[in-house]
């Protein structure tokens, strides 16, 4: 190798080659982490197929999917899940109708309207909503919400589709708000400046520029929220009444319904292993996964469209602009006519006339009132939406705190349970939950961030990323109860971990992995390329650039994902049910191979099977809440620190 000039090393020196090798090794590690989600989902799918197929073969696919009657334990059993599929779709749709406007409204409030001090108070408060365990939501729904609905609407029972949608809507809110808020905040300041400089009001700027620019992030938020809603088991089964019927008429939101997850949640534990019923439940889980897949795939397509349209990287659109405009108008009219038609059917002519009147009034008002007044109205509504969300949080918290405070004593916090938790304390459960959550995050965070780094930094979009993303989306749509079953079949029995702390940690880690990957990826994406190029141009290696420049800049977003995950992991019951927990344990676990107590499970058993433990039940919920808040507080402080040190 001859020397080209006076520089001490040539451009293809051994040092350079070894550096290249090191880079390859690092890339390989990230690829491996990215594949974890794919491998998990393949294992889950395989497992569901293996267990579900016998039922499909016996029942017949058509009968299974399109028969309405689900009576698996009758003398002449019927295994039709149509009513369950419809129940799932209806409850999820209802939840989205509630959560999407409220969630995006609150996100706008936090990101654009609220003064800094208010924002810094509200943001963690809303993230706290995510930390409330689903059992608590379910219990709150059962005791407070359904009762309120029953009295308000003068029903014979408040356990309805509406109740399910409200609870799931509330549960999806933190995800939608946090992720949308991040997306809105990451819209470049120049867009705001440009719009305002044109004389647009703040509201016009938000609606005309910021929301469209943040649309991909907001869509991702809605999908994540929907994933949470569709996979939720414990809360929904406590409030929807679980009657396996199709509402009559279909839009009767006051009818009881039953979802696919609720069916799994209530029947999976009791069903006889190996029976047709058992296999049919796995087939249900499969159907649920497929529904999640369809939602995610269509969302991916939409997301791709949005990005292409904004960045001008797309191919020529199929329809010309003019045709598209016309199609849009036609669709709008059709939707209007349909809506009016539906309203007429439901509430007679008066309802339809009312709607027509409202639309007319809106159009008229839009012409008369100034943008300033529109802004005032819009901001008022958004503030009200945020207020409603906070009020809900307050009601739930108040319920838990007021009922649970009397249970909190030194003994309660430091001793083991006695008399089935009716007396004594919950110390081993506190420790168990901390072990589970910390372990799960310790496993999921490096894998998730690694996967996000691989997806965003080390590869360009192609088949591989598509596979990884699809796998991740599927994993995100997998209901927690399926994770529980998978954990039991794979980790506990096949791998031989037994019912143990480790099995629970891994199961929880797999469950929160998609959230971490998704939010980390969004965070990495929001780091401007100029930063990367700046570092690379200085001769830094790719890994050096990522670890020193990109990751610190993305840390706040990654921490948001982690915070959401902690909340989720701490509050979950279903995945632990068969993998990690025992009701009572005298000694703290010596190793990760021993089972543990966990707060949500303790709460679940107290709430459902131990009469006379009301105070302890609320006390446990309160401790769980305080614990999650504590972990949150640390994470929020870390995020704040990261935000303050990183600026670009």
């Amino acid at each position: 190798m001859h020397r080209m000039n006076d520089h001490s090393s040539s451009l293809s020196s051994p040092a350079g080659i070894s550096r290249q090798k090191k880079e390859s090794v690092i890339t390989g590690i990230w690829l491996a982490t990215a594949l974890v989600a794919v491998i998990t989902i393949i294992l889950i799918l395989g497992f569901l197929l293996k267990e579900g197929l016998p039922a499909l073969l016996e029942i017949g696919l058509r009968e299974f999917l399109f028969e309405e009657i689900w009576t698996p334990t009758s003398v002449e059993p019927s295994y039709g899940i149509l009513s369950l599929i419809i129940g799932t779709i209806l409850v999820t749709l209802g939840a989205m109708v509630i959560a999407v406007p409220l969630g995006i409204g609150s996100a706008i409030f936090i990101a654009e309207i609220a003064p800094r001090s208010v924002r810094e108070a509200i943001k963690p408060a809303i993230e706290l909503l995510a930390g409330i365990p689903s059992v608590v939501y379910g219990f709150f729904g059962l005791v407070v919400l359904t009762n309120w609905l029953r009295i308000t609407f003068d029903l014979s029972s408040g356990a309805t589709w509406l109740a399910g949608s409200i609870i799931l809507g509330i549960m999806a809110l933190p995800t939608i708000i946090s992720v949308s808020e991040d997306a809105i905040t990451s819209v470049p300041q120049e867009y705001r400046a440009a719009s305002l400089a044109l004389g647009a009001t703040r509201w016009q700027t938000i609606i005309g520029v910021i929301i469209p620019a943040a649309l991909s992030g907001i869509t991702a938020a809605v999908i994540l929220g929907m994933g949470r809603a569709i996979g939720e088991t414990m809360a929904v089964l406590m409030v929807t009444g679980n009657a396996a019927i199709i509402p009559d008429p279909l839009w009767n939101i006051l009818s009881p319904v039953r979802t696919l997850t609720a069916t799994l949640g209530i029947e999976m534990g009791e069903v006889a292993i190996g029976s047709t019923h058992y296999h049919a439940l796995f087939a249900i889980a499969l159907v649920l996964l497929l529904i999640a897949l369809i939602i995610n795939l269509s969302a991916t397509v939409i997301l791709g469209r949005i990005r292409n349209a904004q960045m001008g990287t797309g191919k020529t659109p199929f329809l010309s602009h003019e045709v598209k405009g016309k199609v849009k108008t036609v669709c709008l009219w059709l939707a209007c006519i349909l809506l009016i038609g539906v309203l007429t059917v439901i509430s007679g002519l008066s309802g339809a006339l009312l709607l027509i009147g409202a639309i007319g009034a809106y159009l008229l008002i839009q012409r008369i009132i100034t943008p300033k007044i529109t802004e005032k109205i819009a901001f008022g509504m958004i503030t009200a939406a945020t207020g409603l969300v906070l009020f809900t949080l307050f009601v739930i918290l108040f319920d838990i705190v007021s009922n649970g405070l009397s249970a909190i004593t030194w003994e309660f916090l430091t001793e083991g349970p006695r008399d089935l938790g009716r007396s004594g304390g919950i110390f081993p459960a506190i420790v168990g939950t901390i072990y589970l959550v910390v372990g799960a995050i310790a496993i999921a965070l490096p894998i998730g961030v690694g996967a996000a780094i691989y997806l965003n930094e080390y590869t360009i979009e192609g088949k591989m990323t598509k596979i990884i993303r699809t796998g991740n989306d599927l994993l995100n749509g997998t209901p927690s109860i399926v994770f529980g079953l998978f954990g039991f079949a794979f980790l506990v029995i096949f791998v031989g971990l037994g019912v143990s702390l480790l099995a629970g940690q891994i199961t929880l880690a797999l469950m929160v992995l998609p959230t971490i990957i998704r939010t980390s990826e969004e965070a990495l994406k929001s780091v401007p390329d100029s930063l990367r190029h700046g570092s690379l141009a200085l001769g830094a290696t790719r890994w050096h650039t990522i670890s020193r420049v990109v990751l610190p800049a993305a840390a706040p977003g990654i921490l948001t994902g982690t915070i959401l995950s902690i909340g989720r992991a701490a509050g979950e019951t279903a995945p632990l049910l068969f993998t990690a927990v025992v009701f009572s344990k005298r000694f703290l676990p010596d190793s990760v191979f021993e089972p543990v107590m966990a707060l949500p499970y303790h709460l679940f058993i107290l709430a459902t099977n131990v009469p006379g433990a009301d105070t302890q039940k609320y006390g446990t919920a309160l401790v769980l809440l305080i614990l999650v808040t504590g972990i949150y507080a640390v994470a929020v402080l870390m995020r704040k620190h990261a935000q303050n040190t990183v600026r670009w």
Binding site: G28, L35, A244, A272, I493, V495, Y601, A607
Partner: protein, 288 residues
Amino acid sequence: MTGSVNKPGFPLTYCVGAAVLLLAITLFVSGCVGNDSPEERRTISVTGSTTVLPVGQAAADAYMDTHLYDEILVSGGGSGAGIKAVGEGTADIGMASRDIKAEEKQKYPNLVEHVIAVDGIALIVHPSNPVTTMTMDEIKAIYKGDITNWKDLGGEDRPIVPVGRDSASGTREFFYEAVMHKEEFVRTQQELNSNGAVKQTVAQTPDAIGYVGLGYLDNTVAAVTIDLNGDSVVPNIENIKNKSYPIARGLNMYTQGQPSGLVKEYLDFLMSVEGQRIVAEQGFVPVQ
């Protein structure tokens, strides 16, 4: 597929990826094999029906109070899960609030059944409901959907809201056989997954009727007296013991083969006078 920047290392990238994954899986599996429990402590695990869990836990607590080096871990995920766990060997005892099914027997032929208690199932209504006595036929008619209004039973003119257990529950299965005589439930029946949830719902729903284990009766709900050919039978321990109350079933524990060691000691304790006293304390009916 990959950016040109790391093209030189492209195949290596994939090799390393595969290697890391393999390594992780190997570590993972091997880590689990050397899993032996400490010598000095005897530990068994009991899992299954959440209905039986209170008895199992309370007995375990009492046993461990006098045997400091033994640990009995009780958890509940459902009867089926319990039978599966003991069948697969991940638990030592499986609890079930129903009898083992043919499919399960076939899969795990060595399971041995131990009946440890009897559970009486009481019909409950809202305390404000004037209807407090029913015949077995009337109960069946309500759950079949033939009687849908309380006025047909001498109550107010309000629709009846039947609340039941989920289709996999042992309680429901027993109810299906003992009360419904295997005729179908009305499809608008609300289905909840625990005794606690059923009681809670009935306690706050004036028009509801539900069924729960005897241990759940308290003053927030009213227990229905059953009219057996003119004899009024109240659901209580005494009436179940003397078999005059018609809706009662056994609670079971299953072991893999005949029990030995701590498993046997624990089951023996459950069947002892002390153990059966605990059964009664938890609101169930002793079998001895």
